[in-house]
């Protein structure tokens, strides 16, 4: 027996890849919701105060004995181009996660089905109640698909006294189909990749991601959100459809992520790049989000990001705002997005977000 001293670990830093289900019982039900209001771009080039994100997710999970488990998340949302999923007047119902998992040991778990792509730390903590800002950094979703369908091998353990984890995925097919795809993301096929992360110091987690993939389908769509000019505003080259076509050329995706969780200061950073090929230019960017506790549950939040869209000039984005977490179930975010581009696809202006966990 040993009498140990106080610990100094910050548990919120423990964001290792693909956390397992450890839920009591066969069936658990939960979910989350979000309402974000902002001045959304209209097809005639004007802007109007409206809900830019109205989303709800239903989650179900359970353990089948000590080693097997399942998880299902179904999202329904109506979103505009200003929000991170970015579809004008989009209304869709999507299975974000739907998998079975078997745990051989803490070091080896196998997940089969549809799962969150383990690229960076943000994509696996994407739900609005978990994020610091009302809109998501572009680098956390634009260069890759939010979910993949295939197999995932993951584990965590101790690496020379540091907590560490990994996730490796193989996704032979693309997403389910156009109804479920998010056209602002890059859908994959023949994708192989993963992420590894380690808690270097108490409260400090760093991770790296990499993948080889092919685009799974042409980037097509209807309406002004797919590259048409918004009635006299600056034409947006952020998502240039001809450059994001289906392409059999294997592409390489690289990423890094960093998280420091102090008692009064939290910093998240990451970068993701889809490297250039003979047929497509590179796309990607990096961001830093800093949150400083002002008082009690109220945090001041700032973000900077530089993003290089496919085929267009780079965009510099910034955010300043407040985030309050009064209790465990509610999150309130209010802040202003600042950008050097006037674009329907880059968030700009004031946003107010109310989200909840149930």
């Amino acid at each position: 027996m040993l009498a140990a001293g106080p610990g100094f670990v910050h548990p919120v830093a423990a964001q290792l890849p693909a956390p397992p289900v450890v839920g009591p019982g066969l069936f658990q039900l939960g979910g989350w919701g979000d309402l974000t209001v902002g001045r959304a771009w209209q097809p005639d080039g004007t802007r109007k105060l409206q809900a830019t994100d109205l989303a709800a997710a239903l989650m179900a999970w359970g353990q089948l004995g000590a080693r097997a488990s399942y998880f299902v998340e179904l999202d329904v949302a109506k979103r505009t181009a200003e929000t991170w999923t970015g579809l004008e007047a989009n209304q869709r119902f999507a299975p974000v996660r739907m998998y079975l998992e078997y745990t051989f040991s803490d070091l080896f778990r196998v997940r089969a089905g549809r799962f969150l792509t383990p690229i960076g730390q943000w994509n696996e903590a994407f739900a609005a109640p978990l994020t610091w800002t009302p809109t998501r950094p572009l680098a956390t979703f634009r260069p890759f698909a939010k979910s993949l369908t295939g197999l995932l091998l993951a584990g965590s353990g101790d690496l020379h006294g540091h907590g560490a984890g990994y996730a490796l995925f193989w996704a032979p097919q693309g997403d389910y189909g156009h109804d479920y795809d998010d056209p602002q993301e890059s859908s994959f096929k023949h994708a192989v990749g993963g992420r590894a992360a380690v808690e270097l110091l108490p409260g400090v987690t760093v991770g790296v991601s990499a993948a080889r993939l092919q685009r799974s389908r042409p980037y097509t769509g209807e309406g002004p959100e797919y590259g048409e000019d918004y009635g006299g505003t600056v034409p947006d080259t952020l998502l240039n459809p001809p450059l994001r076509n289906e392409d059999a050329t294997p592409r390489t995706l690289l990423g890094f992520d960093f998280k420091w969780a102090g008692t009064r200061v939290r910093v998240q950073s990451g970068g993701t790049w889809l490297l250039q090929t003979a047929t497509e230019p590179y796309e990607g960017g990096a961001f830093v989000v800093t949150a400083v506790r002002i008082t009690g549950p109220v945090w001041g939040v700032g973000e900077v990001e530089r993003y290089q869209p496919v085929g267009g000039g780079s965009a510099d984005l910034g955010y300043l705002g407040l985030t309050a977490r009064p209790g465990s179930h509610f999150v309130i975010k209010v802040g202003r997005e600042l950008t050097d581009r006037t674009s329907p696809r880059i968030p700009d202006g004031w946003f107010l977000s109310l989200s909840c966990i149930f």
Binding site: M1, F8, A14, V22, G23, P24, D106, L130, D158, G161
Partner: protein, 125 residues
């Protein structure tokens, strides 16, 4: 002083505070002998739980909510709570892989098969 007690099929592992953290954060789901870990808490308002949380995690029970909120989105809830330290001992004694924490004086007389893993903090108030 608060002691972590467990019922294991094999000899208890070497005292390891980091392992205790992982077990109570549900990041380590198996003991070294392969038995599933089955941690239990005391109620959130329990002074013993508050002290255990501060000694082991360096956080208050309230601050731990951020961690459990993240894990909730992956299908993980905090370990269940027992109503008293004696209930913790009873649960651990009846559960292979069970693990809990009690004050040192309560841990002075442990049920058969339950062993101390590690003790944290100074003297209790």
């Amino acid at each position: 002083m608060i002691c972590v007690v467990a019922k294991l099929r094999s000899d208890p592992p070497a005292p390891d505070l980091e392992m205790v953290r992982r077990v109570f954060q549900l990041r380590q789901r198996f003991w070294p002998d392969g038995t599933p870990t089955r941690p239990v808490n005391l109620p959130a308002a329990s002074p013993v739980r508050e002290r255990f949380t501060e000694e082991v995690f360096g956080e208050s029970v309230e601050d731990m909510a951020a961690y459990w909120n993240e894990r909730y989105f992956h299908g993980t809830r905090p370990p269940p709570s027992m109503g008293s330290q004696h209930a913790v001992l009873l649960y651990v004694a009846r559960t292979n892989g069970g693990v809990g924490y009690v004050q040192a004086d309560t841990a002075a007389a442990l049920p058969e098969g339950v062993k101390k893993l590690i003790c944290v903090g100074g003297e209790t108030d």
